[in-house]
Amino acid sequence: MAASTLARGRAGQEVRGGAALLRGTVTLYLSLIVVLPLTAVVWRSSRDGWGAFWEAATQPQALAALRLTFAVALAVAAGNVVMGTVIAWVLVRDQFPGKRVVNALIDLPFALPTIVAGITLLALYGSSSPVGVDIGYTRAGVVLALAFVTLPFVVRSVQPVLLTMEPDMEEAARCLGAGPLTSFRRIVLPTIAPALLAGAALAFARAVGEFGSVVILSGNIPYRTEVASVHVFSLVENDDVGSAAAVSVVLLATSVLVLAGLNLLQRRRTRHAD
């Protein structure tokens, strides 16, 4: 018995030792990949003092770029909430020929280099558009580019939840007098809400940081179609690293706030799931 206690003790220690090692690895990795660079940006932005930071961050052109970026990112995230849910719903609940092709198509924006996406969109919807739609170098172009690259997020987070959702909750709602719309609003929506919010958060984050597709399609006209990431890039190109860091920090802080807000909502929604 003493031996078995000893063995168990040793096994326990091993597990604890293994857990500590894993935790250490994760911490180190995250530090190197995420925390240190972010800290460096914040540190770089503050090097010239608070006044310089504030001046750089509130440059009219910077403000315009930030405003456009967050407005479009929010709009795109919201659009994805609706369209992503509709697409996921159709892919899960509907049966039609070619469904697997459509399903595979959803991941294309992930697989395509965003520069290629930008070129493709410009060729299709630019000044020499074969379909007669010219939204190149306009804000509509920015929205389109971001909608394209963020398409998979909501679809792919909602789809598995819909797939595993047992039909009996909805059937129960139907038997209690709820029509299909009420059943969707009161039963399906609350069930997929956490996944929906998670997908929206990812789409938002991606839209805020997107560079490749926008840089091609938007034309980067200051005050009109220049997004924050492109603005930061042009500041760096002009050797104004301090200002670039300042704008980046504002971008970063706002993103963190929005993501934290979405996370909070999501957690409130998942509280009672078992």
Partner: protein, 322 residues
């Protein structure tokens, strides 16, 4: 309210779940749909609820043709095997769901929910979430929810199937009481003949998508229409073409002219009753069921020679089904 199903057929691909089924369920009755899995009993229940459309046939509820009505307009309460609790709502919100959808006034909803929670013995748990309830409690909540809108018909699909044996027994008795109190026409699906016999006053026995027999528990046991029903509603042992209930085999120590000689191959003591597996001299096997007292009086033992005679046998024209 009465339910009338006429010539309902439902196929799923190659599988025929319902094969030209006609059933009448009288108003106020407590009816069990009894059968093995795949017999079509759940499909029949779902056809009545409108959750499944029959390929052919019709459903009448309370004299009105409901065949093409969606479930939300049939006025049926439905209880699912796995509760189908709305996980994101409290017990109170779950029970209130149907009333809210019907836009009843708030005060009325509150009063009705309180009354129902009292009825299903969950009054203290109104603000809990389903995840915080036991299986039995969840199913009682689901029952309260289905009764909230005062349905004309209550349908239960293997309502106790996911619960452990003790809770199942409790809820059976409780469903019986509930029916005596509420008097709503109730149909429940089960594959457990004991459950059907204990709870229902009418049983519809189904097999292979067809109705084999309809009758009261005693009726089915005493006068089964065919070999399948006889075997499904109780134990059965065979002697050639004869079907015998094990308790209808008389066991004696001495021959009396009409008995056959048999050897006790095995004795199983099941508390009050004793089961004796017998082998006749021609090699045929029989199972006899005796009370413990009778077995003791006969001093039954393994390997012993006894004399047996079926006191009551049954023969069916058709070959035994299933």
């Amino acid at each position: 309210m009465s339910i009338l199903v006429r010539n309902a057929t439902r196929r799923f691909g190659d599988f025929t779940a319902l094969d030209d089924v006609s059933v009448e369920i009288p108003s106020g009755s407590l009816t069990a749909l009894l059968g093995p899995s795949g017999s079509g009993k759940s499909t029949l229940l779902r056809v009545i609820a409108g959750l499944e459309r029959p390929d052919a046939g019709s459903v009448e509820i309370d004299g009105r043709d409901a065949t093409s009505l969606p479930p939300q307009r049939r006025g049926v309460g439905f209880v699912f095997q796995h509760y189908a609790a709305f996980k994101h709502m409290t017990v109170r919100e779950n029970v209130a769901f149907g009333l809210k959808v019907a836009r009843r006034p708030k005060a009325e909803i509150r009063a009705r929910v309180d009354e129902l929670l009292e009825l299903v013995q969950l009054p203290g748990l109104a603000d809990r979430y389903p995840a915080q309830l036991s299986g039995g409690q969840r199913q009682r909540m689901a029952l309260a929810r289905s009764l909230a809108t005062q349905p004309s018909v209550l349908l239960l699909d293997e309502p106790f199937g996911a619960l452990d044996a003790r809770v199942r027994k409790e809820l059976r008795a409780w469903l019986r009481h509930l029916h005596d109190e509420v008097h709503v026409t109730t149909v429940f699906v089960t594959h457990d003949q004991e459950e059907a016999m204990e709870v229902a006053d009418r049983i519809v026995v189904m097999n292979h998508g067809r109705v084999e027999q309809v009758g009261g528990p005693r009726d089915l046991y005493e006068h089964p229409a065919n070999a399948f029903v006889m075997g499904f509603v109780g134990a059965v042992t065979r002697l050639g073409e004869h079907f015998i209930r094990p308790h209808d085999i008389e066991v004696r120590r001495q021959p009396n002219g009409t008995t056959s000689e048999a050897m006790v191959e095995r004795l199983v003591h099941l508390g009050f009753e004793v089961r004796a597996d017998l082998v006749l001299h021609d090699g045929q096997r029989l199972a006899a069921q005796l009370s413990r007292q009778d077995a003791e009086e006969l001093e039954l033992a393994q390997g012993q020679i006894v004399f047996v005679r079926p006191s009551r046998t049954r023969q069916f024209a058709e070959a035994p089904a299933g």
